[in-house]
């Protein structure tokens, strides 16, 4: 009797030990993928929202980020944080009669703004439209011809419209994206939680998501970076066109304009009465995309032969 009892106890403790090992093994197996996690993947966990950071905080963060990019991409880079200039209101105009669909702007933008090459992220989409319609559903986003422009087509480049009334900033649950005083809608890449609500909200399909860590060959990296613009983004956050603010806030033109072979693009300060952009908006018959959406874009299109 006592023997039997002891055996039962033995068997029970054996079963318990077995169950314990099985549970530990199962937990281990569940968590196994964490082994591939890169060291420092969670650096900057406690970093605060951009608008709550002091100048010194930002300087410290920039040093850390420059180090990280050096470590991960092997490139020596400088990150600046240019502020918006007082009284400046940026706007863009695009002459559709001139655009020939070469997509030079797309590639220049990718290079300037350190967009991921794999998976490929591009801020500018050039839509090939059949003449005689403005139905975007008839557009071709992936046209691939030997030569452009094609007969019977016109080309409609679309990027962030930097709306006056942006639906994307409204929906962000953590205020990770906002409109700057010079009219540029920016994203704090270190604050975005990656919920992608802004992508659903944007009527212009302007926002891109980093589904994985951006991959850029070392020699293709543009080392002149801006904190709120073209620095290499972390995985899991949203990005988009920011009117090249690291260039434009220092008086230069956006990369897409500079490269345009037909001179279809005009950029400038709407508040400057002498500027070309002001002349166009005042004198050309311009229009905006999806005016009915009430977004009030700062991106104007016009035909002018």
């Amino acid at each position: 009797m006592a023997d039997e009892e002891r055996q039962t106890v033995k068997r029970r403790s054996f079963l318990k030990a077995g169950a314990g090992v099985a549970i530990a093994g199962a937990i281990g197996a569940t968590l196994a993928p964490l082994r591939d996690m890169k060291a420092g993947a969670l650096d900057g966990f406690f970093q605060q929202h951009y608008k709550r950071l002091s100048e010194e905080d930002i300087a410290g963060i920039i040093t850390r980020l420059e180090g990280e990019i050096g470590r991960d991409y092997g490139a020596k880079v400088t990150i600046k944080d240019p502020k918006p200039k007082k009284g400046v209101r940026f706007a863009y105009a695009l002459n559709l009669s001139r655009c020939n669909g070469s997509r030079r702007c797309v590639t220049a933008c990718v290079k300037e703004n350190n967009q991921s090459r794999d998976p490929a992220i591009q801020y500018i989409k050039v839509l090939e439209m059949p003449s005689g319609t403005f139905d975007l559903e008839k557009s071709d986003h992936n046209y691939d011809h030997e030569q452009v422009p094609q007969e019977g087509k016109f080309y409609l480049p679309v990027q962030c419209q930097q709306c006056e009334n942006p639906p994307c900033t409204k929906v962000c649950p953590v205020e990770a994206t906002w409109k700057e005083p010079d009219g540029v809608t920016v994203i704090d890449y270190n604050w975005c939680i990656g919920c992608r609500y802004c992508m659903a909200a944007c009527p212009y399909e302007a926002r891109r998501f980093n589904f994985t860590k951006p991959e850029i060959p070392k020699e293709d990296i543009n080392p002149n970076m801006g904190y709120l613009s073209n620095r290499i983004r972390p995985a899991g956050v949203v990005e988009k066109c920011h009117f090249c603010l690291h260039r434009t806030r220092e008086g230069k033109n956006p990369a897409c304009l500079e490269v345009c072979p037909t001179g279809a693009r005009v950029f400038g300060d709407l508040n400057d009465p002498e500027s070309e952009i002001r002349y166009i908006v005042q004198n050309k018959r311009t229009y905006v995309l999806k005016e009915e959406a009430g977004t009030i874009p700062a991106f104007f299109y016009y035909f002018d032969v």
């Binding site: 929906v171 962000c172 990770a176 975005c192 939680i193 919920c195 659903a200 980093n210 995985a235």
Partner: protein, 421 residues
């Protein structure tokens, strides 16, 4: 008091591990599914959302689809609460707690689904007011965070208080729960309305930008939620000795029937509006129901799904409005069809077409990856595990077999012989 409460928790834990082979097999099965889902999530956590089938064009997928469906299930618990507390229906009063427990598990699943959808789950704390930067009241998502968590807390309080009173064999004091019950009724409507407004408020997505979405959400919720409850009650009747009167099931059947008919009506209203006007904005609906021609290619991944859903709902409606529905066997089938039908219709059938075509007229289809589906399966398994566990503890309390005085005094068929005290 605290010691007493800890004793309660310890006993509840002990009780969770008591049961027959079938109970053990069920719980281990669910735990294994959770583990598989957890493993898949760890893979996603390390490698990013690139492990899913989502793209820049279709930026929400299976996670948000399941989330939307489950918010409805959680809200539908109110369909037991109203008859029980407002109309003082006796049958409902005995089972209302099981509905509230279902709401708790559904909300927990919702929270899991939105969390796994985040690109940066490590930054979840940015959502916490004051410490983070909570965009309230401008962002509808911040409203959703509040209403979902609030609903979870309300139901945890109501269930916890009632069960704890019953455990002590005390009569619950009405001020401690009745006001919360009535708040929860309004709150239940609000969770689903706010979730609908998440989509309705987007001007760039004509498929969602329609006032009918919120009423449709509530209607389909009152189909799927009570249908799940009917099936859950049928299971409870079989595995425990707890009495659930047929009358209660038939009251729920009436709710499912009415809501299903209204749901089908509202859906047909949308179809009419989209098709008859023939405006360009009907492309998403065309994609859903017929497939979309785009540059010589037909895109129709959702077509078989939505037609299956509509067929299932139609068969369920026929069963429910004819005398067949009064037979419990047929009722079970109808409920199962309702659940699957609504899950497709307001899950993938609502989320994915919102992105197709894109605002600039591109067509990119969405197909979830295996890893993504495993995560969904894990989240569901966790919710069902949680519900099973809560029922394991709640049923003996409700039937008086587990109380402060008696401890665990099980005499149900699920208890093993040696453990009956």
């Amino acid at each position: 008091m605290l010691r007493d409460y800890l004793l309660f928790l310890a006993r509840a834990c002990k009780l969770s591990f008591m049961g027959g082979p079938a109970f053990y097999a069920w719980m281990i099965f669910l735990t294994v599914l959770c583990g598989i889902g957890g493993n898949a999530y760890m893979h996603q956590f390390v490698n990013g959302l690139g492990t899913t089938g989502m793209t820049d064009q279709v930026s929400w997928g299976a996670y948000i689809a399941n989330f939307t469906f489950l918010v409805g299930v959680a809200a539908a618990a109110v369909m037991l609460v109203i008859p029980a507390y407002v109309y003082r229906n006796k049958e409902m009063h005995d089972v209302v707690l099981f509905g509230e427990l279902l709401a708790i598990s559904a909300i927990v699943m919702c929270l899991i689904f939105v969390t796994v959808d985040l690109g940066r789950p490590d930054r979840f704390w940015h959502l916490i007011p004051v410490i983070g930067k909570f965009n309230f009241p401008i962002s509808l998502l911040s409203w959703d965070v509040i209403v979902l968590n609030g609903y979870l807390v309300l139901n945890l309080h109501i269930c916890g208080y009632l069960l704890y009173c019953k455990y002590h064999d005390r009569k619950p004091t009405w001020v401690f729960y009745i006001p919360f019950v009535f708040i929860a009724i309004v709150w239940a409507v609000s969770i689903h309305t706010v979730t609908a407004f998440l989509y309705v408020g987007l001007v760039g997505r004509p498929f969602w930008n329609a006032a009918i979405i919120a009423p449709r959400f509530l209607c389909s919720a009152f189909v799927a939620g009570p249908a799940i409850l009917i099936l859950a009650f049928q299971v409870i009747r079989r595995v425990s000795t707890y009495e659930i009167p047929d009358k209660g099931l038939h009251l729920l059947r009436n709710i499912v029937t009415t809501a299903l008919l209204i749901n089908l009506f509202l859906f047909s209203c949308e179809v009419f509006k989209e098709y008859y006007s023939g405006a360009l904005h009907s492309a998403s609906m065309t994609y859903l129901l017929q497939g979309l021609e785009h540059h010589g290619h037909t895109y129709n991944a959702l077509v078989p799904w939505i037609w299956s859903a509509l067929t299932l709902e139609a068969i369920a409606a026929i069963i429910l409005i004819t005398p067949l529905g009064k037979k419990l066997g047929y009722l079970d089938v109808a409920c199962f069809f309702c659940i699957v039908g609504v899950w497709i219709e307001k899950g993938m059938g609502l989320i994915v077409p919102g992105f197709i075509p894109t605002p600039l007229g591109n067509v990119v289809e969405y197909l979830p990856t295996t890893n993504e589906l495993l995560i969904c399966m894990g989240a569901w398994a966790f919710g069902i595990l949680l519900y099973s566990w809560m029922l394991r503890v709640a049923i003996p309390i409700m039937s008086g077999q587990f109380s402060h005085e008696k401890g665990i005094a099980l005499s149900t068929p699920v208890a093993r012989e040696g453990e009956v005290q």
